[in-house]
Subunit: 779 residues, 2 copies
């Protein structure tokens, strides 16, 4: 827990504000001031260009380029194709000249710089006063938003006020496909000049309605159509501007002393991932979208965008009084999660860094099911449904992958954009079999909270069967005990490799098998035709079910039956002990400072493994068992994953170790705002933001959602006066408010719900229920 904040942004409950340009943190700010609307995202780079160091990143969710993965030696089942979300068109492209001098904050003189991201409305504003070489002063205000209701629409507004002169300013506004992707091979971020451009230009046009251009990736054959139109009061003459991968208009804007002049750029983008699509069809449909925009004005677009955000905050806000830093942090997390994904398209998913950078290749990990899905099931069930739909859509790829690995059924990828395995590091991509299990867990959890029988019948059951099939073909029987389990795996911990019977993997596999068998049993009575149709489709053999039953019943779960301590995998207790406190802070992250193999030969763990399933299936375990496992594993964990502290915080809260719970939660919400890991420049830790949400709701809110009713055992950090959050559950919207004295539960919308609080069951409705809080027990 030696991490230190690097705080330079103002603390504000509803905004992120940078006062004065922090040039040395340019990349960090670009990440933090990212905007996205699920369909696309742009980092908070400067519209007008910037010759200093930075990552001018503009991305479309799921639009990727691909490269070959090079292995020192290639073996069967190694992934050889890396897909990465590719940096694409700079549609905010603007260049500004006064008396021939180009505005460039790396070189120009300026003052009064303020950048502000409004979390309530999703508008990014940046203003400053430019002092030209000729001594003129202009105030410039840039604003942008990415419409949350029109996925293709991005809006930019530039306002200029000449403070001490009248004259003209020359402007070029356009689209630029020439920018560099900066993530090199092996994920390493490169210098801005070192990247590569992956685009060929297929079409360009200066049309009546819009200036447009279309690029195609060089190898994956994916296309991005981009177009813009400019709106201003007295439209000046426009000249065409063209470069190799650039298109735009240039014009001179007349300025009158102290009068504001502004123009709006409305951009319509369209991404086409279907490689077979014809160039002309993609172009035509892009142009159609651009036309469809009609006369839509900035104000209208903004109004509908704002009203979307209003609704989000109505149902998803978390209020924390008494702790402005966490208040801001947690809202920033909720904001970014909605920006990254809100369920508009089942073909998309949540990248580990969202749409805010190139690190982790914009790929989806098992974080989606284990960390993000809880946020979505309680805030946006449609989004949760669609995230699982993405796994259904990519089921064929998962089945292909299982075959490559000499298995049957569906093996979901460790790292993916298009459903294929993109993880070149075989020890992760081939051994972390719990990814498939996480999909089954996600289905189970979604069904628990949202109860969506239609999804289960149409997609869920088929996935469950194929996952079970994979598990049955991947697992083996213990030669001495006759138990079933998984040999040669890497558990969630990731600091132990080629281990046997990882406790998490085996336990969760048992749950997956049991749940699937339970669903089939239930459908046999309730919907035999549906069951029969799915069974026929997947060719299900009744003998398979018997086998799964036997496997689940005999699953090996290494545990000391006397103490209740689980053994993370066979032989874990025989690993040499390492006192992690003895490791100098300078040696973190260990992956960069330790010889690789050294990491794997002690009882040190990277992130929770046993503790994870004690949390996921909380109600299966007594406090005593949680306590003994927490006390054993937590001191052995170095939390090298940003997803890790939240789990410790949640369990610490449950076990009444409140100080520990708060300490672990401390930096999670501000991981990026205060750049705790010193790598925010590479992009935001988007999936960790979901962990932050869980940390508040499951941790201090004490929620557990693995039973038939929601369970709450709330506690409140010492310096919080009150905190409240919302939950959607089976069609109802519930508010939970907690202060030192009482816990309040109230239905805002929908029918009454049974919940269990501090061990007793209550029915809550719109009138609400207030229960006294127990005295705080210090941890």
């Amino acid at each position: 827990m030696a991490k230190q904040p690097d705080q330079y942004l103002a603390v504000n409950p509803w905004a992120v504000i940078e006062e004065g340009f922090h040039q040395e943190k340019a990349r960090v700010s670009e990440s933090i001031f990212s905007l996205g609307n699920e369909y696309m995202g742009v980092r908070g780079y400067f519209d007008e260009g910037y010759s200093g160091d930075g990552l001018l990143g503009s991305y479309f969710n799921g639009v990727f380029e691909e490269t070959d993965i090079k292995h020192p030696a290639l073996f069967k089942g190694f992934s050889t194709r890396r897909c990465f979300m590719v940096n694409t068109v700079d549609w905010l492209y603007t260049r500004i000249y006064m008396d021939g001098e180009e505005l460039d904050l790396a070189k120009s003189r300026f003052s009064g710089f303020v950048r502000r991201l409004d979390l309530r409305t999703g508008i990014l504003t940046r203003e400053f006063i430019w002092e030209t070489e000729n001594g003129k002063h202009l105030k410039l205000i840039f604003q942008r938003f990415l419409s949350m209701v029109r996925p293709h629409l991005g809006c930019q507004r530039l306002s200029i006020i000449p403070l001490d002169f009248s004259g003209t300013v020359d402007i070029v506004s356009g689209l630029d496909f020439s920018r560099f992707h900066q993530a090199g091979d092996d994920f390493t971020p490169l210098q801005s000049s070192m990247g590569k451009n992956f685009w060929n230009i297929e079409e360009k046009s200066w049309g009546k309605d819009a200036v447009a251009m279309m690029g195609c990736t060089k190898r994956s054959g994916q296309r991005v159509f981009s177009s813009f139109r400019l709106r201003m009061q007295d439209c000046p003459a426009m000249d065409r501007v063209e470069g190799d991968k650039l298109i735009g208009s240039s014009f001179a804007l007349p300025l009158r002393l102290e009068e504001i002049v502004q123009y709006d750029k409305l951009v319509v983008n369209r991404a086409e991932k279907l490689v077979r699509a014809k160039t002309e069809d993609v172009w035509t449909s892009g142009m159609q979208l651009a036309q469809d925009l009609g006369d839509l004005a900035w104000d209208e677009a903004l109004a509908e965008h704002q009203s979307y955000w209003e609704k989000v905050w109505e149902t998803s806000d978390i209020v924390i009084e008494g702790d402005p830093e966490n208040q801001q942090g947690v809202r920033f997390c909720i904001f970014q999660l909605h920006q990254t994904y809100h369920g508009q398209d089942a073909r998309l998913n949540v990248g580990a860094k969202g749409l805010t950078g190139e690190s982790y290749d914009g790929a989806t990990f098992w974080d989606t099911e284990t960390y993000c899905l809880p946020f979505y099931v309680f805030n946006n069930p449609k989004a949760a449904r669609n995230l699982l739909g993405y796994r259904y859509m990519t089921l064929p790829q998962a089945m292909e992958r299982a075959k490559e690995l000499d298995c049957r059924g569906a093996c979901y990828p460790m790292v993916t954009i298009d459903g294929t395995e993109s993880c070149g590091v075989w020890q992760h991509g081939n051994l972390e079999i719990h990814v498939s299990i996480a999909v089954a867990y996600g289905i189970w959890h979604y069904m628990r909270v949202c109860g969506d029988d239609r999804f289960l019948g149409e997609e869920g059951l088929e996935m469950l069967i194929q996952i079970c099939r994979y598990l049955a073909s991947r697992g083996q029987w213990h030669p001495r005990t006759g138990e079933f389990g998984f040999w040669g795996v890497m558990g969630p911990d990731e600091f132990h490799m080629m281990v046997h019977n990882n406790c998490y993997t085996n336990f969760m596999a048992k749950k997956s098998l049991e749940y699937t068998l339970g669903v089939i049993r239930e459908l046999r009575d309730k919907a035999p035709e549906l069951l029969s149709s799915v069974s026929t489709k997947v060719g299900l053999d009744p003998a398979e079910l018997d086998l799964w039953h036997k496997m689940a019943d005999n699953m090996r779960i290494p545990q000391n039956k006397e103490t209740g301590l689980f053994e993370q995998h066979d032989g874990f207790f025989d690993l040499p002990h390492l006192d992690i406190q003895s490791i100098p802070v300078t040696q973190f992250p260990l992956y960069k400072h330790w010889a690789y193999d050294r990491i794997f030969r002690s009882d040190m763990i990277k992130q929770p493994d046993v503790l994870l399933f004690l949390f996921f299936f909380s109600q299966d375990f007594s406090s005593r068992v949680k306590q003994i496992n927490y006390c054993y594993y937590e001191p052995r964990c170095i939390n090298e994953s940003s997803l890790s502290p939240g789990i410790h915080s949640i369990l610490a809260a449950e076990l009444s170790m409140h100080d520990k719970a708060y300490a672990y939660a401390g930096f999670a919400s501000r991981l990026d705002l205060d750049n705790y890991n010193r790598n925010t420049e590479e992009g935001l830790h988007t999936t960790s933001m979901a962990a932050t949400w869980m940390n508040v709701v499951y941790g201090f809110g004490g929620l557990r959602s693995d039973g038939d009713v929601l369970v709450f055992n709330p506690s409140i950090p010492r310096n919080w006066r009150v905190f409240s959050f919302h939950l959607q559950y089976r069609g109802s919207l519930m508010e939970v408010g907690i202060d030192r004295d009482q816990a309040l539960f109230r239905i805002l919308n929908g029918s009454a719900l049974s919940i269990r609080v501090f061990g007793r069951e209550y029915l809550i409705d719109e009138a609400g229920l207030s229960l006294p809080m127990p005295a705080v027990r210090l941890g």
Copy 2:
């Protein structure tokens, strides 16, 4: 044991003969007909050029080019630089034209093709009758040898007999640096057209004494000087021939009906690995060598070469009567071992494929100490000494490597040419820590047989100390039992990875520590000054010795004390059982047909692991213990390494399983001659040839050399009438002859020796000792 021979060469006790050109086996023959003299090697390619598929390979021991190793993700301690023995100058380059038609056995008409490698003299002869398009017939005889006494000298003779005409033949003879290296990234052999050339030409000259050229590798900066002179009776006019990387002379040779005309090409090559050397100096010393050749004629050069081989066979021959195939096979092995290395230069070593191909990059593995050294200690003690000298010379690299791995002392590389780690596959390069242990074992074994105190004081002890230091820093203590051991390793087996306390590794490490401590103890009395000087040099702390003592005493050796069965590593007995007989033959080699991770999750092993140390330290273990371990591990082993069957054969012989012993030995001696593994085209299995020698001497000869005297428990395969072999031991040369009735031991040279035969000690001298053989017990 499903391997099948693919026999196409004639069986002959002293020669390898191909009758009729087997075009489809062109590459296999190139490997088999390779010549080498430790300094350099050439595959058996056609002197006159050949447009068909083949690998025109010409190599210099230790001359390498380098490339970057690409990793999907690079972690600390991963090797990033691959060195490979690079294909270099074709100094046999010859082109032959009749009436403008070029001789090319891929296109020309020919008959009477015979290729013959004389094992007694090391001469390769190839003859055939060429029928030109004009219907002329010429008999051509090519001969070549690489002088075993003049490392720089290669000799080629071409004899031509016009069978039905008189006229002239046009010939170009030269040096060609333009050939392609054909091993691609990741060891894959490429098509002949797909390779790369790695040479820049620095100098060329047509001098009085020789035509010469010098190339320099593009990246590693190593140089090869090559020169030739032609010798013939009536020297015709010579024209200069020059190409980009080619130099030579062309001339017309007058032919008279049925008269033989011949010329000799004497080639002087010089390899310079010192990168700092100046171009002109290397050139000058190459030219000097060429000049030094003086008037040396083919016959003289051949005579001294033949006399070298005579001596080799006098002291190293193995005679097998009654089994012509194994007789040929074992002589071929002995021949190739001498060709590859005979101790002329301590800076060189034995590549896994010798100098016969590009597979395994011409690199040295731990095979040198475990498989090759026994051959050399008993046949050529100077070579054995120099092989260990190579490890001493590369001690600085091994110490650097230990540091990279966060360890102390010396970590010897898994794969190397220049002493640095060239193994890009981290799971092998970083986890097979038994390579360093093998060096310690090699020192121990060399000292046992050769008793070379001077070596021990000058080099051996320093290596031993640095290896122990490495082991002490790499090992850890068991948290429950307090034992010392090695976590996170890969044992010799290689089908289990990241295992803990591999029995072989731990046992051999214990022996290394004990031997080192023993040497230090002995020197303390015998040579305190020497000890003190070495101790000072390496900064030895007495506390280290105490620690090593404790480590050795408490070394964890997993074993069932009741049955005596060793557990290959912690938890091996809990691995799912796989019946290896159930694997279809078509799935071998498993590395190519099974998903990589699947290989690692059963009790199947690739090659002996426990059985290896039961053999190395044979006299430490009872027959009962060997028996139970053999019966457990042998059926679990698929012998995917060509080194593997020999060990099983040796142990089976010891355990009186004679049929099994013979079956395992069956194909070892002819592994390449009959292309059992179907990959001889990539080069010969040179280090396996040493295993073949061990198989005869240790297996049927029943030799054990791990005690104070040599021990023999001979047996004889049922179809062998008699076999005999030689051993050099502590200055004496011994002959051992075994038939069904008696075993004969005789000193040919040197003082009398004590040996133990069938459990009793005898003193043998030049008079010899004959002991009756026991009745054959069938296995």
